[in-house]
Amino acid sequence: MQVDPFIDPHPNLTPAVLQGLGWLYLVLCAMNLWWTIRVYREDKHVMVPVLNIELPRATFWALYTSALMIVGFMHVSWTNEDYIDRFPLVLEPGGPFQTAIDFVVANPVTYFMISISGTIAVLWFRKFLVQPTVGWILLNAAVLFQALSMTDYDFRQIVGKPDNVPIVALLYLVGGFTWLYFYKAVENDRRLAEWDGEGPIPVLENDENEKVLVWPDLVYSELICMIAITTLLIVWGIVLEAPLEEPASSAKTPNPSKAPWYFLGLQEMLVYYDPWLAGVVFPTMILGGLMAIPYIDFNRIGNGYYVFRQRAFSIITFLVGFITLWVAMIVLGTFLRGPNWNIFGIYEYWDVHKLEALNNVMLSELFYLDWFGQFFDMPSYGNDDPMGKKVSMILLRELPGFAVIGIYFVALPPLLAITCLRTFYQRMGYLRFMVFTQLLLWMAALPLKMVLRWALNLKYLVNIPEYFFNI
């Protein structure tokens, strides 16, 4: 079939797209050329199983690099508008790959499970992942996944939005730097495990640590860095035009209405908590919690070098907070949230009419109607009742919710102090420990509410609409 781009308003492929991707493949090819040379210099060999011959490892990378080059040139040289649907090597729209990916990402439950288990997997398999070859393969996989996905119209719409480009960059940067951190931390862990405690601490950072003059060593790298950043900004500015939509109009509300991307983690929280919590209390807690870090984690060990084992608890907490609860939520809010704040797959069309059943319930309803309906009646009051009766009825109605929250914030900390966090309590003392557990509980409050929502359809633990007080 011949596809006429003037007829199909959502073409998956156009010559411009193919050429753009071609350059991406060629860049990837150049990167792998460098890598192949690197591997060649290392001069390692592998046995090929069936053929029973020994080959340099670089052979495989050379083959891969050549394949990338061919693919790259094939894309770059494709100028033919007609018959573009015959272009080979494309993700099939609506094919099994796309369907599978959309199935897992377009669902808050699986999305969250993947991001949290991904974080755990990185921590668990860190020794495996920090091998340079593994890191390089992961980078290639990410770029290839993105390049292939770019052949999909809907994916391009959302990832290629000028304001979303920084988020794509953020993902690569966070991934790369996290890898670099583990690369160093795993090595330092190993060295520290073998250390007998004599002399200076044997971390990587101490290997070469003489005093040097700031001029030239620092000022020149600063200069180079400034030039590089300036160049980057200018190129970025030429390639991508800053967005400018229609003039502001308070009558036409866009759907979806999104906050700027760096606040989308907070906007995502609105799904689970009311604005007074998601927009006011949680941000305050996050900032207060960040500022409190040095006073809670006052242990002086582990300052000035990358390490994991010595600081496992604080590192894990920070990684979960930063990657799972912040970056992953921003990605969800930016790439997956569409009209009516429904969640869409990355290859899915943003259909304004997509319906999602919302039949959320309150804890008071679950308690008084479902679970213990035969013992209690739902407390209620009439409009003419005196204030005192109203308030006591509301409090009675919301008693289950208050009880849960009370146990969580009041009873749990002392319980933790005498059980699993006992050593923490002894080291930190009363005040520090209380601040620490409160912050930790606030941090856990988001995932816990998510789980309650998914498991019980729970909307609010405490629901007092009369006073805008919903939790």
Partner: protein, 257 residues
């Protein structure tokens, strides 16, 4: 005598840089002490403190982006008037007719980049444990800088006055309505009342304070413009100065003992 030597021997040059070029050790020390801009730095540092793989250079890049934003921002201010009548038109003109219109692109992408680099800077400071004593307070200063960076970005987002701008700011500032006690849809706002009259209404709550109005309108544009171009940059510059001062006073970039 080469041209370079001639220039460096001239009275003008010598009046600016009072010492010979930093070719030998002595003058490399002297240049750091006598140059206003360079005296932010110490004369010598441990190699780790300047290793790219250690600091990721993220604090430095954030600072440089702050400077880029200041310069491009001043240029943009020449062309931009923060009124309902002109704001959008001036941005259109920047795109279509102004010679240095690319300043807008650089300013916007630089702002996005700054948000990212400041997060990554915090990430590395955490991962190297550099917030530990004696640098606790500088970490706190850093968190304040993080807030200011986000607020700078947020206030700037409104200025183009297009659909993207006002709705993003509307969504973002709607939260303030729900501030406990101080927002007119927040829990407990009824607590503040005088003789039965609520003090907190849509015309006097936290959101009104932020927007200068009940919705995102001309007052808001004016407020955000002043916050974006004057108040927050000054606060950030002051805090950055303290941040850098403290790095020196806390013993330079953190080191393994």
């Amino acid at each position: 005598m080469s041209v370079g030597d001639y220039i460096r021997g001239s009275q003008i040059w010598k009046s600016i840089f009072r010492h010979p070029a930093p070719y030998d050790r002595r003058n490399r020390v002297v240049v750091m002490l006598t140059n206003f801009f360079l005296h932010l730095h110490p004369v010598s540092v441990k190699q780790q403190g300047i290793a790219l793989s250690y600091t990721w250079c993220m604090g430095g890049i954030t600072f440089f982006l702050f400077l880029v934003e200041t310069i491009t921002g001043v240029l943009l201010m020449f062309y931009y008037r923060p009124t309902l009548e002109w704001a959008y038109q001036d941005i259109l003109a920047l795109r279509d007719v102004t010679t240095l219109g690319i300043m807008r692109e650089i300013h916007r992408w630089g702002a996005h980049a700054m948000v990212i680099t400041v997060w990554l800077h915090m990430y590395r400071v955490f991962l190297t444990g550099s917030y530990k004593p004696p640098r606790e307070f500088n970490w706190v200063v850093g968190v304040l800088l993080l807030v200011l960076t986000l607020l700078l970005s947020f206030t700037g987002y409104l200025l183009p006055w297009d659909q993207l701008a006002i709705w993003a700011i509307t969504v973002g500032s709607n939260m303030a309505r729900a501030t406990p006690v101080l927002g007119h849809e927040g829990p407990g706002f009824q607590l503040l009342n005088l003789g039965g009259y609520d003090l907190i209404t849509s015309g006097s709550d936290a959101r009104f304070l932020l927007l200068g109005s009940r919705f995102v309108g001309e007052e808001t544009l004016n407020r955000f413009y002043i916050l974006h171009c004057v108040a927050i940059p000054l606060a950030a510059a002051g805090l950055i100065a303290i941040h850098f001062w403290r790095i020196r006073k806390d013993g330079g970039i953190s080191q393994p003992l």
